[in-house]
Symmetry: C2
Subunit: 196 residues, 2 copies
Amino acid sequence: MPDSTKRTKKRAPIPILGYALLGLIDQKPSSGYDLRKIFAETAMGNYSSSPGAIYPALQKLEAGRLVIGNTEETAGLRRRCVYRITQSGSVALKRWLGRPIEGDEVKRGAEELMLRFAFMERVLGPSACVSFLRNFSAVLSPYIGELEAFLAANQDRMPLSARLALESGLRSYRCTFEWTHYALQTYKDFQRERHG
Amino acid sequence: MPDSTKRTKKRAPIPILGYALLGLIDQKPSSGYDLRKIFAETAMGNYSSSPGAIYPALQKLEAGRLVIGNTEETAGLRRRCVYRITQSGSVALKRWLGRPIEGDEVKRGAEELMLRFAFMERVLGPSACVSFLRNFSAVLSPYIGELEAFLAANQDRMPLSARLALESGLRSYRCTFEWTHYALQTYKDFQRERHG
DNA sequence: TCCGGCATGTAAGGTGTTACATGATTGC
DNA sequence: GCAATCATGTAACACCTTACATGCCGGA
């Protein structure tokens, strides 16, 4: 008696930090320490970098066979464990990067979307980036409209600082919206350069 | 033998959601249900609205005597528990709103800062808002410089999409920076209007 | 010899999420 | 009688944070 509710293997959900690590490891095999340094020193600093987050996350990725760690017994220094991505890791990364954008992802802040976009070109190529940007722009547009409507309806009843805080959010969304068009244009120029 | 390390009463740290609730309750005594609706229906939707977050948070605020709940035995509907802010709640709110901005608060996203600003005028008045905006602008400025330098140093080695993702962050910060000046100007106009 | 940088990890605790449970009232 | 809305809550779990623990190496 086959159970049709389980026809696909249940994949344990991967948190954003897991995907960030996976994407970085895909770019270049790395140890936990390497990855921590990337978070601490580069503009990816909005991610944790704390050992209590990264090492357990790496262990979970390894337990799910998305990466494999190889402990180097090099001379000098302490042994370091270098992780590299596996086939199923690569598949999971592609699936994450290729997901269509959902409406509420924008409201919760665009962090995850930007992380996906940053990794996207290497893994899925420029045309996927272009699709993503169009998708992003299309999702952003109605949300900006909603915010404008809310502001118009309520601003008279709010203290000035509350109104300004809302306007700040609106400006940020508009800024991101404009960015999508700038990025699209940049890709067009890039394409023309290659074909020209 | 007095223990000098405990000269101030240890205040349990309040998470952002707690402050959001405290600020809202300060504006108007509310029940958990009221507060959930605010998160769900207004532009404060980036905050949870899930009962599993809000009710425990309210209980913690009450346990810390920052709010007191009063269960109304009204006719009709189920009993609802309306919270109102206490004196020490008011003090805690003021302390939070008046904190100077720390450098890393900007890197972790400006959500909390904007929440503080939104509540600020009612509780601390316009002049505190002006100070806050100047402080914010001053903290933002060097961070934007850092990001620009990082981008200039690394953009040639990155895929186009990664560079664009970074530029998106930079544009957001610049947008917020410009907003601080717009907001400052708005306060100046507001002041002139009142004194004129 | 001891400090600082490399490198990995654990323990405790807090916060939030999803999903579920409960109970009363209004309207059909 | 049943569904929807009002209203509050719990339980299980996942995740991240801070703080600490460990161990090896090179240089002053």
